[in-house]
Subunit: 144 residues, 4 copies
């Protein structure tokens, strides 16, 4: 049996966050900059589930700084809300990690979408122009 | 004498920030999410100079939540660096405020670029489909 | 059967936090200021379990700003650590809420202790010199 | 002429901060945890003026983690306020750095006081039981 190719190119992990008092601003809504933190929370939840977290990367001698991010806000989140973050790994041939994010509120309404792009730096801080070995192995292990 | 139209559509303000210890991460560089704060610092410096800060908007009964932002990182900033933020108002016919950001390090090298889009909400939290009066007056005052 | 009075004056709630990448500094340890956030996380976990969270207080028309806090650090926490926060309500006759915090690392070693004091402000932002009714009822409900 | 001994044991530096939008909470006032950042801003302003900043310490191979801090809040600060931080070095025989902070609002009213205690760690992360050489020299240079 062959898995449909579309599905085989997308892996998603869903995680929850509870909006902290300090994450909201005088308008009573989450300050927009905090969504970048929520994206990182989602990416780390993904990383822990699939063995590709910052700590996993460090164990292989690599770091993966964010080189690009974007964020679109549809609805506000408020203090005390429990939001759901869906983090999806976007497969790409380039030596990059691309993640897409969708954040939903308690009513399952889409609050925010975003995307981040990371590159790999080796032990010496040099940019990797091709995929590091550990990342190739990871991709193959998860079927990408 | 007629001013060239290109110049008349762009107003920029330059401000400085000093990178705080806490704004850097275990890799010794500014955590990417903090650039969103730097953009806000630049936007507020612009707002204070041109009378269009959050406080000015509030005085007219409006708020202007960010609905979209993006950020591209070229080089890292480190603890103690003095960075320069150039914030440019991007003129647009829509009922929106668009700002573009360029952040430079001590060596005048481009560290980061970005853009944010804000909409206007009135006293009742309703989205303004056309430009609020105060914003039209502001545009006309600054020659846009 | 009579409960020993000492025990009846202490209610504790234990909650967990996972140390985020951004909460650590260039030394690789949690920046000391973030423990104030962890204390709030513990206090809110306590509040949710015992019906005395910020949202509960607001529902009664009160806020409870922190007027005093202290923090002692014994050991560092690092990125990825799962810490346990024990939050204890310290009973007092005054119109105040006092909480004591103990944070433990994965090895059950004491990382940090602290205490915060809150006062009550009513709807008009006036300081309450005596305990608000809802707080008296809460105390009686939890047996203090 | 002999300087009074009391004065000779206190060196203070005054610096300014502008309260950011994000530093305020849904109550419209600065979230209490942010004062720890303001204290650090004051300590760093002191350090830059007197050659004892984190970067200066690192240049000598030392770090100085905070082991103790406390904070008392008298009045709130609000978004847009320009506050003044007076940071005072508290001389002590122990191998510690103790700073005292007073934060004043635009009306010169005392908003907040606090104190922090730092110890010294050497290159290997070992606690210094006696004052490091560079710190002794610094003290002597500033007349303590």
């Amino acid at each position: 049996m062959k898995m449909p190719s579309k599905i085989s190119h997308e892996i998603s992990v869903t995680s929850k966050i509870r909006v902290r008092f300090t994450e909201t601003d005088p308008l009573g809504i989450v300050w927009h900059g905090n969504y970048i933190q929520y994206f990182e929370d989602g990416r780390e939840a993904f990383g822990r589930e699939h063995g590709i977290s910052y700590l996993d990367q460090q164990a292989h001698g690599f770091t993966s700084p964010i080189v690009k991010s974007n964020c679109e806000h549809k609805l506000p989140l408020r203090y005390g809300d429990i939001a759901t973050i869906k983090t999806t790994f976007v497969n790409s041939a380039a030596a990059k990690m691309i993640f897409r994010y969708e954040i939903f509120n308690d009513d399952h309404k889409l609050v925010c979408t975003g995307e981040t792009t990371q590159v790999f730096l080796d032990k010496n801080g040099e940019l990797c122009l091709t995929n590091p070995e550990f990342f190739k192995e990871w991709k193959s292990k998860v079927g990408l």
